[in-house]
């Protein structure tokens, strides 16, 4: 990620660059944005594939019949109707679409970091269906993602699960029926350990003690608020007239939903003490933590996590980017699994999400999980954690046809996604993408040429009036440059930094989920 733009346009073409910026705003959809998504044929059959069902083993030379976006049949002897569109997957591997339990793609912004409880804000309201990272992750086999608020606050914003339906409008992205969530965060980020903005006073909380009290305080209020409404509703139901309802509180409403089990808590955390702290607070107020996110010291308290029935969603092998990540180990996922915790491997990062299959494979090396257990880390387990396992996470009849097709066993560094399907539609096709590249380049070049010409013409027209005695032209007013917002998920230690800086740099960058 950059703190600076890196235009590759030469000096003399700078005015053209300005025009290009306008051009990009106007024409970008043609260049890189999604084409209208392909209509889903009513019936598709994927044939000759090695099918890793996740729920019931591997089927060699198997077929999957898809009808109206759902999996209709799976097996070695599937009879496809004559009108079915055939996808020949000979020599290829089909797995359930990858589910990323911690993502910040498709979001215009992710951190309302000004307050310690920002439960009033909602990621659902700022979805950006044109975020190119949707397509990039789709090309990595990801079909669904848990779009989280950042970790700047003890209680953060509301969250939702989306499907990566590239090319569809924002309204079509949410995973239908998936329970919404809310982001909590513990440790260094909500206490702002690594982020101080000059001139700004410290924000409460500044310790892990304060983080606990912030959460307890908010839930005390939420409990009172719920009681006020419950009383009101009871009296109203009893037929009392002329009642004045309690004043609505948009900050407390989502917390009441948590208390009522209608909203999942996804809590960012690192250290064992803060994990146990939130379990105690949850018990005190009678709510459930659905998942601990990152949970890099989860292996230290795996039994407590298992006993509480909380899911753990972690990184494969990130460590040492800050103190609370110094005890992180790549064995975390395997150790927690062995102690009975449902574990998923997540990305927290648009690039990491493009190879979650590989990240899952590492739990075989570190801790000796089986092939099946490893694959579950990015399919069935995150589906269970997000409460969408009735519709996703395995290849079973009746489930959504959300599938990723690889050229070889996906638990390998050599596997490449060939196709990604959501609801039975091919949203990503590697061959199609490659085939379209030349045309896209041509189109881009044609547009650039057109605007170069326009710029030259404009310059010529201007010449007589603008060339003063000194021969200097007045400086043109520079149009707004369209720069994609630099988005910073979490503390985000991205492995491959593109500016040669270290991974921790990300943590201090602007605009992100600090």
């Amino acid at each position: 990620m950059k703190s600076s733009s890196r235009f590759s346009i030469h000096a003399r073409n700078f005015r053209i660059l300005n025009l290009l910026c306008v051009l990009y705003v106007v024409f970008f959809p043609i260049l890189a944005r999604a084409a209208t998504p392909p209509d889903a044929p009513a019936v598709i059959v994927i044939q000759n594939a090695t099918i890793l069902t996740v729920s019931h083993g591997t089927i060699e030379h198997g077929s999957i019949l898809i009808k109206d976006g759902k999996i209709a049949e799976v097996g070695q002897s599937v009879k496809a109707p004559k009108d079915a569109q055939v996808i020949d997957a000979a020599g290829q591997f089909v797995i359930p679409g990858i589910i990323d339990c911690h993502s910040h793609i498709a979001a215009e912004s992710i951190n309302e970091g000004s307050v310690s409880v920002s439960s009033m804000v909602n990621m659902a309201e700022i979805l950006n269906p044109e975020d190119i990272d949707i397509y990039r992750d789709l090309a990595g086999g990801v079909t669904a993602a848990n779009i989280l608020h950042g970790s700047a606050n003890a209680i953060g914003g509301q969250t939702l699960v989306i499907k990566l339906r590239w090319g569809q409008p924002a309204a079509k992205l949410p995973f239908e029926g998936a329970l919404p969530g809310i982001k909590f965060a513990l440790g260094e980020n909500p206490k702002r350990s690594n982020f101080s903005i000059p001139g700004q006073p410290k924000r409460y909380p500044a310790t892990r003690m304060g983080v606990e009290e912030t959460i307890r305080g908010a839930f005390s209020e939420a409990r009172d608020y719920k009681k006020a409404w419950d009383d009101h509703n009871k009296r109203s139901a009893a037929g009392e007239k002329n009642l004045i309802p309690p004043r609505r509180d948009l900050r407390l409403e989502p917390l009441v939903e948590v208390l009522e089990g209608k909203r999942y808590v996804h809590s960012h955390c690192y250290r064992e003490d803060e994990i146990l702290m939130l379990l105690r607070v949850a018990k005190e107020f009678g709510f459930k933590v659905r998942t601990f996110q990152h949970v890099l010291e989860g292996y230290k308290v795996a039994d407590e996590l298992a006993a509480a029935g909380v899911g753990a969603s972690t990184f494969s092998d990130w460590w040492a980017y800050k103190v609370e990540a110094y005890d992180a180990i790549p064995y975390n996922a395997a150790l927690m699994t062995r102690r009975g915790v449902i574990v998923s491997i997540n990305s927290d990062d648009a690039e990491e999400a493009t190879h979650l299959n590989q990240e899952a494979a590492k739990s075989m090396k570190y801790g000796g999980l089986s092939h099946d257990e490893a694959l579950k880390m990015v399919t069935l387990n995150p589906a269970m954690q997000l409460g969408i396992d009735k519709r996703a996470g395995t290849i079973d009849v009746g489930k959504d046809a959300d599938l990723a097709i690889y050229n070889r066993d996906p638990l390998s560094g050599y596997a490449v996604v060939q196709k990604t399907l959501i609801d039975g539609r091919v949203y990503f096709d590697r061959q199609r993408d490659i085939a379209e590249r030349a045309d896209r380049e041509k189109e881009k070049k044609a547009l650039i040429d057109k605007f170069k010409k326009a710029a030259e013409k404009k310059a010529e027209e201007k010449k007589p009036d603008t060339a003063g005695p000194s021969g200097q032209k007045p400086t043109e007013k520079k149009p707004e440059e369209k720069k994609p917002e630099v988005k910073k998920p979490e503390e985000k230690p991205k492995p491959p930094q593109s500016d040669g800086t270290d991974s921790a740099t990300i943590g201090v960058m602007p605009g992100g989920a600090l």
């Binding site: 703190s3 600076s4 733009s5 890196r6 590759s8 030469h10 000096a11 700078f14 660059l17 890189a32 190119i132 990272d133 397509y135 990039r136 690594n194 000059p198 292996y299 795996a302 039994d303 092998d317 460590w319 040492a320 980017y321 800050k322 990540a325 110094y326 005890d327 180990i329 790549p330 064995y331 150790l335 690039e351 590989q358 590492k362 090396k365 801790g367 638990l411 390998s412 560094g413 050599y414 596997a415 490449v416 490659i434 881009k444 400086t475 720069k483 994609p484 503390e491 230690p493 492995p495 491959p496 593109s498 500016d499 040669g500 800086t501 270290d502 740099t505 943590g507 201090v508 602007p510």
Partner: protein
């Protein structure tokens, strides 16, 4: 490619037991002679030996081949079913210079000021960094520690000249034992023409007109030119006069090998414009350039090949620089550079992600890079680029015995390194992560 039967495993364990017991934390006695027998040996020079022996003696590879005799008294490790490779060389890291990214007290990677040619990475490499054993366990036997690559501690900026990069073995009680080459390259961060920057003082994004950005860029390049000019004058004075006759300038003195073309400059640049500018500059200044980063090296591959400039590529598992680039833009590049005849290595540019080096190379293979080229890009090519190929990078008689014994392809995610030798010594693969894993695996169920 899991190991074969139980008997084999027992034999393996017994044969290595006494050796292993001696290497709990550091290295075994240097005098030990080892023979790895019945191994499949990927020498990376010529053909792979299907069933061969490697003899390690006195820190070096004493013999390698299909019909090599085991010397008397040698510690024999039966490597049947296993494979031997040169140790992996991660040729851009901040190993030992940065422990915990967010804690500046543990970070020594970037000195303040823009010109620090006299600072040397090896000076600050902490031999007891936890990163070293963790990285070693991934089969990485040596790294280049590079100063001045920016980061948290430097407020996000990079020096122009960051200092001298040091090539080190990832084993040793103290830095002196770890050194391969104290000064292997001079790190130089090529300036960008930046119209948008982030100001850490005010924590806000700033924009400036191109003309202003270009002026600043020109100023930086002029300043660099000036430093090099002064270093040339200094070199002349050094040649003519005795040290007593002129005032020593340590910074200029450090630049002398650079202007003489003896020490290569490791130029960090990613965009094609910056790369072209840097190539032109180094050409004019007669500097030996190694390009580092090179996200858009593919756009200038003919230039790089014709000038003979090698590239250290950052991880291919990086999103493309532009939104309208193909999604796999960086993954495709190694194959394109190889086809164009550009010499390149792949490096992690990191510490905690150093162990992803093999994964990155494997992904490059998945996108068209020939497998052997990928192996060489993390072994002999970086060794050659930094002039260390007489010592490391292949399994040849006379080279330093830095090698790994694995149960499969070292670039694959699930492969385990079974034995690791650094300078001929069987080296422990114990590390912080393994210790914490073992400790908490044993935690009794809470009451």
């Amino acid at each position: 490619m899991k190991s074969t039967g139980l008997i084999f495993r027992i034999a393996l364990v017994v044969s290595a037991l006494c050796a292993l017991s001696a290497i709990a934390f550091g290295q075994a006695q240097p005098s030990t002679t080892y023979a790895l027998t019945h191994a499949k040996i990927f020498t990376l020079v010529g053909n792979t030996i299907e069933d061969g022996t490697v003899v390690l003696h006195d820190g070096k590879i004493a013999a390698v081949g299909a019909t090599v005799e085991v010397p008397a008294g040698a510690q024999v490790i039966d490597a049947k079913g296993l494979q031997v490779y040169p140790g992996i060389f991660d040729s851009i890291t901040q190993m030992g210079l940065r422990e915990i990214g967010a804690v500046s007290a543990t970070v020594d990677s970037t000195e303040t000021g823009n010109y620090n040619p006299d600072v040397v990475a090896a000076t600050a490499v902490s031999a007891s960094s936890e990163h070293i054993p963790v990285t070693r366990a991934a089969g990485i036997t040596e790294v280049l520690a590079v100063p001045g690559s920016g980061g948290f501690d430097s407020g996000g900026s990079s020096n122009m000249i960051g200092g001298q990069a040091s090539a080190i073995h990832l084993a040793g009680w103290a830095i002196d034992e770890m050194l391969i080459k104290k000064s292997a390259a001079m790190a130089l961060h090529w300036p960008e023409i930046e119209t948008q920057t982030f100001d850490f003082a005010t924590f806000s994004r700033k924009e400036k007109p191109y003309s202003e950005a270009k002026q600043e860029y020109d100023k930086q390049v002029n300043e660099l030119t000036d430093w090099l000019e002064r270093a040339r004058h200094y070199a002349q004075v050094m040649e003519k006069g005795s040290p007593a006759k002129y005032d020593r300038d340590l910074k200029l003195e450090a630049l002398v090998p650079v202007v003489r073309g003896e020490l290569p400059v490791l130029v960090f640049a990613d965009r094609s414009r910056e790369i072209r500018n840097a190539v032109e500059f180094c050409d004019k200044q007669k500097l030996r350039m190694i390009l580092a980063g090179g996200e858009e090296a593919y756009k200038v591959k003919d230039l790089l090949r014709s000038k003979g400039i090698p590239v250290i590529l950052r991880p291919m598992l990086t999103l493309p620089p532009d939104e309208d680039d193909p999604y796999d833009r960086l993954l495709l590049q190694p194959a394109e550079l190889a086809a164009a005849g550009v010499t390149f290595a792949i490096a992690s540019f990191d510490n905690s992600f150093a162990r992803r080096l093999g994964q990155n190379a494997a992904n490059a293979v998945a996108h068209g890079l020939p497998y052997e080229e990928a192996l060489k890009a993390v072994t002999i090519y970086p060794a050659r680029i930094f002039g260390l190929d007489d010592q490391i990078g292949t399994i040849e008689q006379g080279k330093l015995a830095n090698l790994i014994v694995t149960n499969g392809d070292p670039l694959e995610l699930t492969t385990d390194v079974k034995y690791l030798f650094i300078r001929g010594q069987l080296t422990s693969m114990d590390n912080r992560h393994l210790r914490l894993y073992e400790k908490y695996s044993k935690r009794p169920k809470p009451q």
